[in-house]
Symmetry: C2
Amino acid sequence: MSSPKLSPRTRTAAARREEPSLPSGTASPDAPPPSPGDGQPSGAAPEGEPPYRVTEQVGYLLRRAHQRASALFQEHFSGIDLTPTQFAALSVLVDEGELSQNLLGRVTAMDPATIQGVVMRLRDRGLVERVADHTDRRRFMVRPTAAGRAIATGAIAEARAVTAATLAPLKPAERKTFLALLRRLG
Amino acid sequence: MSSPKLSPRTRTAAARREEPSLPSGTASPDAPPPSPGDGQPSGAAPEGEPPYRVTEQVGYLLRRAHQRASALFQEHFSGIDLTPTQFAALSVLVDEGELSQNLLGRVTAMDPATIQGVVMRLRDRGLVERVADHTDRRRFMVRPTAAGRAIATGAIAEARAVTAATLAPLKPAERKTFLALLRRLG
DNA sequence: GGATCATTATTCGTACACGAACAAAACCGT
DNA sequence: ACGGTTTTGTTCGTGTACGAATAATGATCC
């Protein structure tokens, strides 16, 4: 119920309505390495550059899509009360058995400062435990508790549902394509 | 620079065979060919589900790609010292001229609580100004200052470079495809 | 051995992101 | 005109994200 009504054409922004035609015509043929210093394709721009619109850039679209994916996750996990990152960390731990806190962060794409908070919250809820590593006294090994294991495995069905809901706007073949491309941007 | 050493010494995860057995109602007895990578036939899934791996789900990949895009943005904008969301808000304001704070948030995909902080920080730096709306005394109109306009227009070249760097791993045709699909997931 | 460098974990500060609760103003049907 | 609903903006609390600084330990080189 309650239509989202996210149509912000209230006052301005209704005057012009051109189609994007072709996105970003930088004539890089292939493999533009991340060489810093390529300010812009200055110099040669024979074709009229399309206007820059922030809401059509990858960064903005990625932020939007990530917001939607997180919202869908929260809906499905409102009962379990796990955030996407908490579930990611817990799920990896259940698969791997035991990881140092730092390595767990790298595997789940979290900063050392970020994984610290995530692990602490999981520990406060009794889902993981931290054990000092005897061979390397800098490290803490993190491993799931029985409760954490039960919750993670029991939530896999919901997690699959979240993935399905997130990809729902795409047709099956498009999902495959999208995931293959998205993987290369990670 | 030290090799990242991102190799979780997985000795597990190889000899796994447990069957999920209870994920969703997928008890379709007629199992089509078990071709791998068959996508996700919505509804009845064939048997032999692949193991669930968090790091291959859309949500995780979107988070990762968004992190990378933000990092690239920060690199290019370290001199200007604008965050992606701050630039998005400012850029939209320069295009639209003047928007209420609430509408600005909707256009840039930010929660009312989020856009509030973003606008405040932009105002503290003298890039936007907030004016009370006389026709609707609940609203504040937000508009860019001369300085904000100058910064936003002057940064468009860098912003294009960020987009190019973010999409660099993909070939031009793939970028077009990816953006078209990503747009539909927003 | 001892100096140097790298890794691990922690803490601090800042910035998104959003649910929830709130007050003021606008809107609406009757 | 009135009362109920919606919209707008604010504040609070929690969680993710990360740069920077720090301390402790491990690894390496001379």
